[in-house]
């Protein structure tokens, strides 16, 4: 399987679709809209990379996820804020102990999961915010090994949790009850099928496959559920100092990766999706919400392969 880079969304700046100081987490909702958590804001982009909506969070946001009912959960320091689809705050869960630093959020059929990097664990709550159990804590090192400072995980269609354990160079599979089912991954410094460095992979997404990102050097990789490497996604546009690059995948298999230094979202399409997007070096041109890829930008949905004019800065967006 091959991927090609087709778009770059966001970038560093103060325009509505740009990020001032941080880009922490990505998520894709059921309608294929991309949500990005950065600074103290949630930004929602359509599939073409045009910003549709943004709203503020009360604290710097570290993670974002969209529930099946469209509610948007924002992970922060010592709390989770819950918004409706329009960005209106509907609830806040606060916990000084269990939600010290919420770097990932996910959902199982009747529960909410929060990755707490300070506690090096995934916290399992019911839908009303009542704590049920820890995940990833019952081991000789009392939690995930995350010297990179992020606990990240994703939930597959069967409700199995796939959690990055970078210090062990693995992606581990857990049941919501906390039972460890197994893992994929091993350390290797040169074989791309392995995970290199002190601590990789740092971030994970799951759809039809397992998608991970690594730091030093920054890249994304695609594995099947047995742990066989299927693709390596690299780009000269990734800043070499990137780490904790959030990854999200939509229903078509389009992969979104956050460059945490350039504060941009790189978009990669699988080759079997079609399209004529350019491959290779990409210049980061400051545009609100969309950065041009070379001289051509592509719209992914409905206009695959058709070149369109660069998107102009959005105006009058609701905050």
């Amino acid at each position: 399987m091959e991927y090609r880079q087709t778009n770059v969304i966001g970038g560093k700046g103060s325009a509505p679709g740009e990020f001032a100081a941080s880009l922490r987490c990505l998520a894709v909702d059921a309608r294929g809209q991309l949500l990005a958590a950065g600074d103290s804001e949630i930004k929602m982009f359509d599939a073409s990379g045009r910003i549709k909506r943004r709203w503020s969070t009360s604290r710097p946001v570290l993670s974002v996820a969209v529930a099946a009912d469209g509610a948007v959960y924002a992970g922060e320091l010592r709390q989770i804020e819950i918004f409706d689809g329009s960005g209106k705050l509907v609830n806040t869960w606060r916990d000084e102990t269990l939600l010290q630093r919420v770097t990932a959020i996910g959902f199982v059929h009747d529960g909410v999961l929060a990755g707490d990097s300070a506690g090096r664990a995934i916290r399992h709550f019911d839908r009303n915010g009542r704590f049920r159990n820890n995940i990833g804590k019952d081991n000789p090192v009392n939690g995930f090994l995350v010297p990179n400072g992020v606990v990240d995980f994703a939930v597959d269609a069967h409700g199995v949790i796939h959690a990055a354990n970078p210090g062990k160079h693995r992606v581990e599979r857990y049941l919501p009850t906390g039972e460890l089912l197994g893992h994929i991954g091993r350390f290797h410094g040169t074989d791309p099928a392995g995970f290199g460095g002190c601590c990789n992979p740092t971030n994970v997404a799951v759809r039809d496959r397992i998608y991970v990102t690594e730091k030093a050097g920054p890249r994304a990789k695609v594995y099947d559920f047995s742990g066989n490497l299927e693709a390596v996604i690299e780009s000269a546009d990734f800043d070499p100092n990137c780490k904790n690059m959030s990854v999200a995948v939509d229903a078509r298999g389009v992969v979104y990766v956050a460059d945490t230094v350039k504060l941009a979202i790189l978009v990669f399409e699988p080759s079997n999706l079609g399209g004529t997007g350019p491959v290779g070096p990409v210049s980061l041109v400051g545009q609100a919400g969309l950065v041009q890829v070379g001289q051509v930008s592509l719209v992914h949905v409905g206009l695959v392969g058709q070149a369109v004019s660069p998107v102009k800065p959005a105006e009058g967006l609701p905050r």
């Binding site: 000789p140 090994l145 010297p147 350390f187 290199g196 460095g197 002190c198 601590c199 030093a216 780490k243």
Partner: protein, 206 residues
């Protein structure tokens, strides 16, 4: 009502102030120097081996080759408060060497074998990844080559290993030979009080 200040007066005042400040600063420096109150130290934010941004290059070895002391007075120090205690430490292992039967890199990084490690708590014989490890730098072996510093730097590591001038080794040259050679002016003079201050710097000897 006072006379308005002319541009010439203003320039005179600025110039006079600059001269006085320079003389004053120089005087303070000389007094401190006379009392042995300034010392050379490595500024980690300038040092090529530790400053953020330079990745993938070879380590700068000027601290090893330029120091007038036989085995350089600059040594690598692990600041434990920042160390991740990783199973696979890129400063300890040559992480691109072949992987052995335990799943670990087969070669160490330090050419002088100056870094040792031991598991914290009870080691898991089935799975070495199930442990934290303490990494200790033997400063009697270290020559400050900076290889481990370069590999420990973010984003590959956590930047816990830095180069430090060891005052019991440094002979306190008036003009440090390393500072003359350092392309980044990373060797700086600081007051003794400041040099002794950072509590987070836990020396390996502790």
């Amino acid at each position: 009502m006072s006379e308005p200040i002319t541009r010439r007066d203003l320039l005179h005042q600025v110039a006079r102030g600059s001269v006085l400040a320079t003389l004053g600063g120089g005087a303070i420096f000389l007094v401190q120097k006379a009392h042995g109150q300034v010392v050379w130290q490595v500024d980690a934010s300038r040092c090529i081996n530790s400053r953020l941004g330079d990745t993938g290059g070879e380590a700068c070895k000027l601290c090893t080759t330029e120091c007038v002391v036989a085995l350089s007075a600059v040594r690598a120090v692990n600041e434990y408060s920042r160390c991740g205690r990783c199973n696979i430490c890129p400063a300890y292992f040559n992480i691109t060497s072949a992987v052995d039967e335990r799943g670990l890199p087969s070669e160490k990084l330090c050419p002088r074998d100056a870094i040792t490690r031991k598991p914290i708590g009870k080691a898991d014989p089935e799975d070495p990844a199930n442990n934290f490890y303490e990494y200790v730098i033997d400063e009697e072996k270290c020559d400050g080559c900076g290889k481990c510093v370069m590999k420990c730097k973010e984003p590959l590591g956590l930047g816990s290993i830095v180069l430090r001038v060891r005052y019991d080794k440094c002979v306190g040259c008036n003009r440090c030979a390393i500072s003359r050679a350092c392309p980044k002016e990373a060797l700086i003079q600081i007051p003794v009080e400041q040099a002794l201050k950072p509590p987070e710097v836990r020396q390996a000897a502790e």
